[in-house]
């Protein structure tokens, strides 16, 4: 007996059509989603890696947002301190002026008045808030940190604390984000409020004005030393932002290489599978309409 071939070719034909159609759908899906991996099972390892890269870029986004919020906060603090610097500089020159022996009492009282105004200005700057939180209160940001209080030796009461906040600005990289007001304004090695009050008293009583000015200069240099912190922190934030943007770019490049589609390849696949589908459909039509011997019986 001769070799028999399977006379029922329909399952084979249907299978071939289904495979080509599937290839077509896959290529189309890849092109429309821009992704090679549209289901976990398409590439489990890549799909799992995507989870991690999504998490990393999500963290980066948050770090960037934090950095931008922090920048405003630190800039507010820095500009407050800048105003303090200006005010204290003015107080020092007033003190130097007051130490001039040619002045009479009423001149000195007038200068004392001006220094007192500066003291109030510095006090309000030391109570500067950002979004409702006191910037120079340590972590007790809900309470106004500084108030005039004649019972205190330096004439000012500090209601804040000495605690610090640190914030992670990029993974594993935490920076300090505040300096307690006590360290800036009532520092043991240069008490700004004490020095200002001392100068006012010295001017009013015309005693030891020179010493009071020297004290204020010491407190001033302490102030500028502390202020450097904010400048440094702002600089650090800026470089962190540059790093984070770079990292995000890298993560997205990596993700793209994991699951992104190669458009050229996908388009070629689509064209190929379309051609193949057309070919198999045409072949199926020919095969199914092929006559058999019975058609020739008369």
């Amino acid at each position: 007996m001769s070799i028999r071939v399977n006379p029922n070719v329909t399952p084979d034909l249907l299978q071939a059509i289904a495979l080509d159609r599937q290839a077509q759908t896959t290529a189309l899906q890849e092109i429309s989603t821009g992704q090679q991996v549209n289901q976990l099972s398409d590439n489990p390892a890549a799909a799992a890696d995507v989870v991690l890269s999504h998490i990393q870029s999500g963290q980066d986004d948050q770090f960037l947002q934090n950095a931008s919020d922090l920048t405003s906060q630190l800039q507010t603090a820095d500009s407050a301190l800048n105003s303090v610097v200006t005010a204290v500089t003015q107080a020092i020159s007033l003190g130097v002026e007051g130490a001039n022996g040619t002045l009479n009492d009423s001149n000195r009282q007038a200068i004392a008045q001006q220094v007192s105004g500066i003291l109030n200005q510095v006090l309000s700057l030391a109570n500067q808030t950002y979004q409702g939180s006191y910037l120079f209160a340590g972590t007790a940001t809900g309470t106004q940190p500084f108030a005039l209080d004649s019972t205190q030796p330096d004439g000012v009461k500090y209601d804040g604390n000495n605690d610090l906040n640190t914030i992670e600005v990029s993974q594993g990289n935490a920076i300090q984000i505040n300096v307690p007001g006590s360290q800036i304004f009532t520092n043991g090695s240069g008490d700004l409020f004490g020095a200002l009050n001392g100068l006012i008293t010295a001017l009013q009583t015309n005693t030891n004005i020179g010493t009071a000015v020297t004290n204020l200069q010491t407190a001033f240099s302490q102030l500028t030393t502390q202020r450097v912190f904010y400048g440094n922190a702002l600089q650090q934030l800026q470089s962190v932002q540059t790093f984070l943007n770079g990292d995000k770019l890298q993560v997205s490049t990596q993700e793209n290489s994991l699951i992104g589609v190669d458009l050229a390849a996908a388009s070629t696949n689509l064209a190929q599978s379309t051609t193949a589908t057309n070919a198999i459909l045409s072949a199926t039509n020919q095969i199914l309409t092929t006559m058999n011997l019975l058609d020739f019986l008369r």
Partner: protein, 460 residues
Amino acid sequence: MGTLSGALAVALGALGADDGAVAITANNIANVQTPGYSREQVNLAQNPPVQLGALQFGTGVSLEQTTHVRDTLLDFRLDQENQTASQLSAFLGPMNQVQTLFNEASGSGLQAPLTSFFNSFQQLSDNPSSSALREGVITSGQNLASSIRQDASNLQSLQGSADLGVQQSITQINTLTSEIASLNVQISGLVGAGQDAGTFIDQRTQLVQQLSGLIGISQTPAQNDSLTLSAANGQSLVVAGQSFALTTQINPQTGFHDVFAQDTDITSAITGGALAGQIQVRDQEIPSILSKLDTFSSGLASAVNAQSRAGFDANGNPGVNFFAIPATTSGAASSISVAISNPDLVAASSDGSIGSNGNAQALANLQNQTIVAGQTPANYYDGLVFQIGNDVSQANAEQTSVGLVQQQLQNQQGSISGVSLDEEAVNLIRYQSAYQASANVVSVINSLLSTVINMDTVLP
């Protein structure tokens, strides 16, 4: 001696045989599209000769029992592949839905709520006294908890559907086994009486094929072409004319239906067919994913709670638990929720002052700590995603290869048992010409006989 009437009988017998052959060919052609039909073969045999003195004369042809052309071994092989293929497709159906739940490539899954949750703490540490940011922490905690609960509940309902599938499969299996048993009776009866049972065997083959799509079976041929079927662990399903129905009982521990064959629990012993796939999804795959989700929820919630208790809330009071979870790991995913609703209770402070962000930072940093079964939450979840993708991907690959084997076996079977119209046409022409030849023989003999009968009129 050969006689004219003897030759007439031979020609008549040939007409009858060709008649039958044409009928068989017609039946083959009629069944060309019938699923499971195996072609019938015409068996012609010469009749025993008669011996007259020194001479031997043939007595013509007769039509013998037709045979159905089939390869039983091939049927067995196909049934086996069918078992695997059905198991895989019953497994892949629900698992494709499971992987959609965790499809991180399209943005569904737990990664986004998890990242947002830790980011909300990170953001709070920027401005710990902001009640809007505190509210944000609670909202993102609720989002994370409800995403986890949603996943758990979806998994459980897929498990429930698989259980329903198990019950439906059992009903179908029982119908099929009882039909096969009654076909066994008919087949054995016919074969015992020396008749052809091919048509019934075709039917039974079809039913066995359907049965093997539902459950892994082993087939043993028995006397008179009867067929003994047993489940893969040896429990009888069909013996001769008797079928043994499978039953189900609710397992009090799982709440799902266990499968019993004659009072023996065979649930975990079922190896093939849709039933095995359904049981695999219901009893192994989904429970494994659910238990990982439980571990994830429990590890995450415990760590967040412990860190919350270590800090202080907005009023300077010691922190309280952030998440509410059951005491046991099991069930954590389906019941995790946020325990606090007052934003002031978020324990962001590490020193009791409202402006302290130390604890919010510590909470945000938990995401990089190994708090879930010795891994970071992200890595643990990542492993789960990989496991699901990998299981589906493996089953897909297996399904493709089984499909190819099936296709090849079906081709092989078709090449043996399938009806070829060309072949039938050739046969038809052959039987037609044989019939015409025999008819011509009859007419020749007829003319010879009339010559003999009219001999007196011809002679002078």
